[in-house]
Amino acid sequence: MHRALSLVGTGLLAATLTLAAACGEDDNADDGSELEDVVSIDGSEADVKVLDNTFNDENISVASGTKVVWTNDGRQDHDIIPNDDGDWGVDPDDFEAGAVYEHTFDEPGTYRYYCSLHGSETSGMIGAVVVEEP
């Protein structure tokens, strides 16, 4: 798995979002704010460690069709709530310490999420998956 740190600014991400919106997928449209320290992950699977109380890495970019796997390596319960009320994510009862949750992102877009126990949509324990065309 190749991981590279990058700053996703207004260039490629904006273009991606514009394309997504044009294709009628604006459910995933970002709010335009800039994500920092986005880690690019190659391969068909991308791992995110869920620590107390941080998603590590917080922001990742993957190709569409990638399965993202979150593992709760913390001691506490957490959850994963999509900011856009998408039909993915996991409740705390199903995501206790040691639990694994996975979701495959097929459509390009920026998928922001948070842990409702330790954050809100915009602060605290938050994360994002930037899904790009392969």
Binding site: L51, D52, N53, T54, G74, Q76, H118, G119, S120, M125
Partner: protein, 431 residues
């Protein structure tokens, strides 16, 4: 900023104003950190957000508050989970024991402060939350004063990834993890003083915390384990380091009836347990009545740690009074060059034997580190460790001391914690 809270009479006037339709939360009445002095219903008064007189809920008042405002809460049971995202506000209860946030074992946090700096919470109780009573995360500047947190599912009073803080005059009980927690910060630049933790899994936990961090003049009793600063990869920034633990009363932390996460079960029966931490100072504490060790400095296994363990190093254990520990009053498990030291303590037993001769704080030690070595197996295994109790069923505490003059005292957002005169702190008296 140094303002005077209006008296109950003044709050009444605010209520009257609200009834007349003058409760426009967007009116800009707040002074944005300015320093108008109270005592009259003027701009200073508009800085006070009274609950429930002006706002039905604490959350509504918090959402309306501007920097520098006071959210003043009258007695009542508030069944809400409050999120704070505004810098430099103060949330104060008029009566610590009668201003109660109740999570009904359904809501997550009583008050949680998300990346808002300078927020102070004073003089109230948070109970029955599934995670935490009072919770700051990502804050620079925080303060909790005269808080009671009991029967909460993770922590009582909790600062995470936050710096420049103060917990004082507060009480935490009935949490499976810790009554008080300061974690994932370096330097933390924080002080915890005059707090009481009892009936928790851990009295204090401080994972990956340290740097100008003081735990002083407090009581840790009848938890499973008392004070447990530790390293762990389940949070960022290991190891734990540079915590100063001085003048605390630590006793009878063998309460196996508490709710307890696994690490609390493992640590049970210890007074002060440094687990994989470095360069901590543990001085002039009174520690007694423990099934395992009074003060122990040990390694902790962690698959993510180099070599699979966080080893303790550079810890100083000096001038403590330690009594009645069933395994050892003082103990250590370290690497050969760990650099932990023990000096000037009053004790009866150590593991290894002659510990102060073996690992002195000045000069070169001598002796056999294998003679009477601490039985780390007593700590490292879950075998025979009592199961967790149920946090919902933990004892309900008695009323706690109120903040003086809560209805008239000045309010001020959280700033730098007070300087701690460590040298002036003496070994506490036995209760």
């Amino acid at each position: 900023m140094n303002r005077v809270v209006a008296t109950v009479l003044a709050v009444g006037l605010v209520v009257s104003a609200a009834a007349c339709g003058d409760d426009d939360d967007e009116s800009g009445g707040g002074s944005e950190g300015g320093g108008s002095s109270g005592g009259a219903l003027d701009t200073g008064q508009e800085d006070i957000r009274a609950v429930p007189e002006e706002y039905d809920t604490i959350q509504e008042a918090v959402d309306a508050a501007e920097e520098g405002d006071l959210v003043l809460v009258s007695p009542g049971v508030y069944k809400e989970a409050v999120t704070v995202e505004t810098d430099d506000i103060v949330i104060r209860g008029l009566d610590r024991n009668d201003v109660i946030l109740d999570g009904e074992f359904e809501k997550d946090n009583g008050i949680r402060v998300l990346e808002a700096d300078g927020v102070a919470v004073e003089n109230m109780t948070a109970r029955n939350y599934t995670t935490n009573g009072f919770f700051w995360t990502g804050a620079e500047g925080y303060r909790g004063s005269y808080l009671t947190a009991h029967n909460n599912g993770d922590y009582g009073v909790y600062a995470f990834d936050s710096t420049v803080g103060l917990f004082e005059h507060s009480y935490g009980s009935g949490s499976p993890d810790a009554g008080f927690y300061i974690g994932q910060c370096y330097p933390c630049d924080a002080v915890m003083r005059d707090v009481v933790a009892e009936n928790n899994g851990l009295g204090y936990s401080g994972t990956n915390a340290g740097g100008n961090l003081y735990i002083v003049d407090s009581v840790f009793r009848q938890n499973r384990a008392g004070i447990v600063p530790n390293s762990g990869s389940y949070e960022l920034y290991p190891p734990e380091r540079e915590t100063t633990i001085v003048g605390n009363l630590v006793y009878s932390n063998n309460n196996y009836e508490t709710a307890a996460i696994d690490s609390a079960r493992l640590a049970g029966g210890n007074g002060i347990l440094v687990a994989g931490g470095n360069d901590n100072v543990i001085e002039r504490n009174l520690v007694f009545d423990h099934d395992i060790a009074g003060i122990a400095v040990v390694l902790i296994d962690d698959a993510e740690a180099p070599g699979g363990y966080y080893w303790p190093s550079g810890n100083v254990v000096r001038g403590n009074v330690v009594e009645d520990s069933r395994l050892a009053d003082l103990g250590v498990v370290q690497e050969a060059d760990g650099g932990n030291c023990f000096a000037d303590n009053e004790f009866a037993t150590t593991a290894p034997t002659n510990l102060e001769t073996l690992l002195p704080c000045e000069g070169t030690g001598s002796g056999n580190p294998d003679e009477g070595a601490l039985d780390i197996g007593r700590l490292a295994t879950m075998d025979g460790k009592p199961e967790s109790g149920v946090y919902q069923d933990m004892p309900i505490p008695d009323d706690q001391e109120n903040m003086p003059d809560a209805d008239s005292a000045d309010w001020e957002p959280a700033g730098a914690p007070p300087e701690v005169d460590v040298d002036a702190i003496e070994v506490p008296d036995k209760p």
